[in-house]
Symmetry: C3
């Protein structure tokens, strides 16, 4: 299994499209599974359409599901940070994508997206692993 | 890795049980991981009990988490379609199932279910891949 | 693929940290993917921080997303049990973790957690599988 830890600049944004880096990683590898893993406790990885403002819709939905202003028992970090730690239970930090002939088999409108509500950390790592099969 | 793209008729329903097709795909393949992937930007794949009305309960919960009547920034398609594009961040379009001796190791009450709130597309594709191990 | 079915005592709690058992299972296995699968229809598996009360925050969030007091169509079990059957669509019963040199590549604050709101079953099974690569 080939595995690489990449670093991305999120710039404090909730979502960062990492499709291009994932495609680069898979190129030339033949058939197998790509595993995308975020080794951070406030982040997840999702597959959805980017570039049509669904990123902002996700932000609004997450604000309603995990209200920043609610009272959280988790006490580290800035106020509201507790919600960031619940996010990975709903947007998991791990996903797999089928790869054929070195290409992810994403649909036309699908992107691989790092989701991290923790604006205090503007740089994030993502581990890409390829299991050939 | 063997991989097949199957087509399912959802008939505009939110959920389509695809367990039988997944079981057929795994039969005879020995041990490994089944990967189920939906190459659509408004769909997810879930594992839960079907046939006891949990499909309708899921529909009610998704209506409360992703209200059709809310205001979404995503502007393509019919009104409320924006929520369909947020769904895959919460119900991911990718899941793996352990397979032993050609049989998915599902619990008694678990089914593999395509979840797609986009009633405008009554036919959907699902990619099944098997990574032997 | 090596695969084992382990049993955990949840004691009726929503969350059970199974990181130590997963680490034991991976030890000595080299590189590959760990697949964690819960063969129960009311349970999921998540990766998030434990020990800083995020477990309780998750419980509060799930109570708001899946209110116990709401009306569910699923009629088996005790009242409110219907919500337990929707949970796996949001907290999936399946997740993979990259493993290098027999060690899960979790971040410092990440734990592997069984999530089961069904307090009627104080013992739960989890299947751990390792696909070498």
């Amino acid at each position: 299994m080939d595995s690489e830890l990449l670093e991305f600049t999120t710039g404090g944004r909730l979502t960062t499209d990492i499709t291009a880096a994932a495609a680069d990683f898979c190129r030339g590898r033949g058939d197998g599974l790509l595993q995308v893993f975020v080794p951070h406790a406030t982040a997840g990885v999702a597959i959805f359409e980017t570039g049509s403002r669904s990123e902002e819709d996700l932000e609004l939905i997450l604000e309603s599901v995990l209200p920043r202003g609610a009272s959280y028992l988790h006490r580290h970090g800035s106020p509201g940070h507790g919600r960031d730690h619940v996010l990975p239970a709903l947007v998991a930090p791990s996903i797999t994508v089928p790869v054929l002939d070195g290409r992810m088999q994403l649909g036309t409108w699908q992107s691989v997206v790092l989701v991290d509500p923790n604006a205090d950390n503007p740089r994030r790592q993502v581990r890409l692993s390829f299991l050939a099969g």
